[in-house]
Structures are given as C-alpha cells and as structure tokens.
C-alpha cells in the first residue's frame, strides 16, 4: 500500500495533464463525452458530501442541478455571459438548499429523503407553470454558441474543485464531525456537536457544484425543458455512482462515476432501454454484496487511511 501511495501523485498529475491537452486533438463528440464525465464526477462528489458523510440521503439532488440550469439559461437569454450565469446558477442552488434545508434538516431519518424527492417534483411543476420566465413545457432555447471546449475546462475545474474540497473536508475534524452524524446523531449531539449546523453546512456545500454544472450543461446543450433538467434518474445515477465507488470516501465517487459512466456510454449506444434495468441491477448488487462500495471494502480490508 505504501508503494501505491508513492505512484499515486505522479499518476494523478499525468491524468490531469492528459485531460488538459485532450481538446487539442479530440473530436467534438469526444469533448462532449468527457465534459459529461466531469459533470458526473462533480454530481456524485456533491451527493457524497451530504449523503455519504452525514448519512442524510438526498433523493432530490437533481433539484439543484435543475435550479442551476434554469438560472443560467434565463440569465444567458437576458444577455449575461455564460460563465457568470453558471456561477449564479450555483449561487441560486445554494440559496435553494438553505431554504429547503432549514426546515427539512431538522427532520431525522427518512423524512429528509422524502422531502427532497418532493422538492424536485415541485420545482419541475413550477418550471412548467411559469411560462413567461421558463418557457414552460416548451422549454427554453439559448442563443447558439459553440463553447464546448471552454465548457469542457469549466466542468473539469468544477469536478477537480469538489474533489479537492472533499479531500479537505474528509481529512479535517469538520469532516469527522459530519461522519458522527451518520454514525450516531444522538451521541454526536450529546458530545457537543451542533448537528443541525453541520448538516446545513454540508448541504449548502453539496448544492453549489450541481447548480454550476447544471448551468454549464444547459449552455452546452443550448436547450432545456422541465423533464430534461429535473429527472429523478439523474439523482439515482449520482447515488449509484457513490454507492458503487464507496460512500464517504474521497475517491469513491470519482471511481464510481468513471466506471459507471463509461459502462453507461457503452451500453447506451447498444441497448438504450437496458440502461435503467442495469442501473437497478447494480443498486441491488452493490447493496447486497458490498454496501461500502469498492473503496469502502478496500479501506476496511487494508485499513487504509481516509486520504484514499
């Protein structure tokens, strides 16, 4: 394991280098695939921050993604530059997280999960209803712009930033305190940890990146509609990626996103309808066979430090 720790930094640096020069020779399709991979890493990593660390399962995390998409799209249509609009999308997602988290994170157990599921449905209906602002069910078209390469870098940056943030959190006492909520919330309270405040922090942090990447993807797609930015399956995919890679770990969500996204791209191309069935099958298998995910199992078996 020591040897593993030695070759990891150079390998990671090399990966970053290759990814940063990739657009020089990549096809348009290749770039779009990769920027979606970055997006999934950012989404999985964000879900991990709230649900993997504190154990509060968010079944509506795509709500923040959709919030970011609509905020960005509306601003872009108004003439705001897309990078700024995407940041605003992230900010609006954080505001939404605060509004929903303040009452709902006081609920313990499954109520939070259910409330989040409801939030997503409500937002989708709202987006369909306020036609003047959102275009309603017809959707919203953005001015045409070929920015895929720039969005590729922006997505990559967000994925890297959330991963770095996760590293900082998991290796700090702040992160350990988030985990005590997952482990035993009553004991955490009794040991002087203000669990509500910590849950709110984790939740706000977990909403920012989905808002930003939602905005970036909206810009890249050029068109959004309620069903395309608030699909339940996006939340489920985030969850599966994290469970598969290892919840509560730093690299688990990255691993899960890379493996499942690659797999999904391959299967999607050949069997478009099999993909949801497979997702379901993976959930069942992971939960039954290795509830800790790939990294969780390795961590437990080899007693790896949390930095993995």
């Amino acid at each position: 394991m020591k040897r593993w720790a030695r070759w990891f930094p150079p390998a990671f640096a090399l990966t970053l280098l290759v990814l940063s020069v990739y657009p020089l020779w990549a096809t348009g399709y290749g770039i779009r695939v990769m920027l979606q991979l970055f997006m999934w890493i950012a989404l999985a990593q964000s879900w991990n921050l709230i649900s993997g660390l504190t154990g509060y399962v968010s079944f509506g995390h795509v709500a923040f993604f959709g919030m970011g998409s609509y905020t960005t799209a509306i601003l872009v249509v108004q003439g705001v530059a897309w990078p700024l609009a995407a940041v605003a999308g992230g900010a609006m997602a954080v505001v939404l997280a605060f509004v929903i988290g303040w009452p709902c994170l006081r609920l313990k157990g499954p109520y939070f999960a259910i409330a989040m599921l409801g939030l997503n449905e409500v937002l989708r209906v709202i987006a369909s209803y306020f036609e003047g602002l959102t275009g309603g069910g017809l959707g919203l078209s953005l001015p045409t712009l070929d920015a895929s390469v720039r969005i590729y870098y922006a997505m990559g940056l967000v994925a890297l930033a959330v991963t770095a943030l996760t590293y900082l959190i998991v290796t700090s006492r702040f992160g350990l305190r988030l985990m005590t909520i997952r482990e035993d919330e009553v004991a955490a309270e009794a040991m002087g940890i203000d669990t509500f405040r910590y849950k709110i922090y984790a939740f706000l942090l977990s909403a920012a990146a989905p808002g930003i990447v939602g905005g970036l993807l909206a810009r890249d797609m050029g068109y959004i509609e309620p069903i395309s930015v608030f699909p339940l399956v996006t939340t489920i995919t985030m969850i599966v990626m994290v469970l598969f890679g290892g919840k509560g770990t730093i690299w688990g969500p990255v691993l899960g996103a890379v493996i499942l996204f690659t797999f999904q791209e391959l299967v999607w191309a050949h069997f478009p309808h099999a993909h949801q069935i497979l997702l379901g099958a993976i959930i069942v298998t992971v939960v039954l066979v290795m509830p800790r995910g790939i990294l969780g199992v390795l961590q437990q078996r080899y007693n790896l430090p949390r930095t993995v």
Partner: protein, 234 residues
C-alpha cells in the same frame, strides 16, 4: 457547598406513561452520586432530561447556578456536563482516536495530545487507529468513557458504566472514576451492580415508578424497607 446540579420537580411523560414524575435532587461538587431503581423506574429518562436528549414536560434543571433545561444537548455539553450511554454509542466507522478528536474544539495539536494521553490511561494506545466498531465491547466502553473526558467536564453522568465490563477492567474504571472525583469532578452514575454503587457512591438516590423513593448514604439505603420493597416486592 453550593450545588453543581439542581433538579426541581422534573416531569417527563411518554404518551400515557409518566417516566419521571416530579423528581427533585441536588448534587454537590466533588462527590460521587448513584442512581438506582428497578427497570423502567425512569433512571435513563432522568439522565436524558438533564442532558437535553429528551425535552422535559415541566420542572427545572440548574447547572452551576444557571438553568439548562430547554438548551440543546450540544449546548449543555459545552457548559461542562458530559455523559456516557447505557447502550454503547461510539462512532463505529471512526477510529478510536478520531472518536476522541471530534469532541474537542480549538487547536488539533493539543487535542491530539490529550486524546493520546487518555488512550494510554486506559491502555488502548495500540488501538488508536483501529475503527471503534472493530474493538471489543469492553474496549468500546472505555473509548466512550474517555471520550467524555476530552473536554474535562465538571459533571459526568455515567449510565451503567459497569455493565458488561470484565472485573479487571471494571476495577480500573472505578479507580479512574475515583481519580476524577479526587480532582474535584462530580460523578452521577446509574448502576445495577450494587457492589459498585455501595463501594463508590457517597449518596444514592432511589427511583421507583418515576418518583424519588429515597436518598441517603449507601448503608442507610440498603436497609431502607421501601427500597427493598421496590426491588423485591412486599
């Protein structure tokens, strides 16, 4: 000497059951107190009301001269009132050392030093980096015991510290409790093991059906007919 903890007419109901029914008691600093009573007599509920885990229905709890009823558990903890649980509540997927570190505030350096000292104190230093969930029952109990000591609380509530602990370990635990008392700390413990209660406590409170039945030195309590009746029936 002024009371460090004062409980006045505390009442807690769960639906139709009155778990704690108008209990009043007062603890002086620097002593070891015991709380005994048959199963279901309200001992743990009383602890939960004092530490804010459950909200009392009426009555008052004062700690160091200020009211703490109505505060949240984490606020009460930071006033200097720590506790352990009847059922072990370590954080299983955190290491023994991490279990201790999460409790502290301020710089990590001194916190780590204190955590290592405490682990040595209970001879668990070799297991510092082991997940708490992998430790034995007795070891987890020790981790929970030293976890509450991390912030050096003035009053410590121990809910059945002796249950399930082997005799050698138990002696060490009891010595540790006495050492804390000698340093001016106040201990309030629930315990079923009468030898532990009688050997350790200066004053014992007896609860029965949520009410305080008796209070006094262990010798007197042991001879009290009402107490014997509560335990064994008439």
């Amino acid at each position: 000497m002024a009371a460090i903890l004062q409980v006045r007419n505390l009442v807690k109901r769960f639906g139709g059951v009155t778990a704690v029914n108008g209990v009043s008691l007062s603890l002086e600093a620097g002593k070891i107190y015991g709380l005994i009573g048959p199963n279901g007599s309200g001992k743990t509920t009383l602890f939960n009301c004092i530490t804010g885990i459950v909200r009392r229905d009426s009555g008052a709890v004062g700690f160091k001269g200020r009211r703490i009823d109505g505060l949240k558990p984490h606020q009460i903890f930071h006033r200097g009132l720590g506790r352990t649980f009847q059922i072990i509540r370590v954080f299983p997927e955190l290491t023994a050392l991490e279990n201790l570190l999460v409790v502290t505030t301020g710089d990590v350096g001194p916190a780590r030093k204190r955590a290592e000292e405490l682990l040595r104190f209970v001879k668990l230093e070799a297991l510092a980096d082991e997940y708490a969930g992998n430790l034995s029952y007795g070891q987890q109990k020790l981790v929970e015991f030293i976890r509450v000591l991390m912030t050096d609380p003035e009053l410590i509530l121990l809910d059945e510290p002796a249950a399930g602990v082997n005799p050698t370990l138990l002696n060490e635990l009891l010595e540790a409790v006495k050492a804390l008392r000698d340093r001016g700390k106040t201990i309030f413990l629930v315990e079923h093991d009468m030898k532990v209660v009688m050997g350790l406590c200066e004053t014992v409170f007896v609860l029965d059906h949520g009410e305080k039945l008796a209070e006094g030195p262990p010798g007197v309590i042991q001879a009290d007919e009402r107490v014997i009746e509560a335990y064994f029936g008439r």
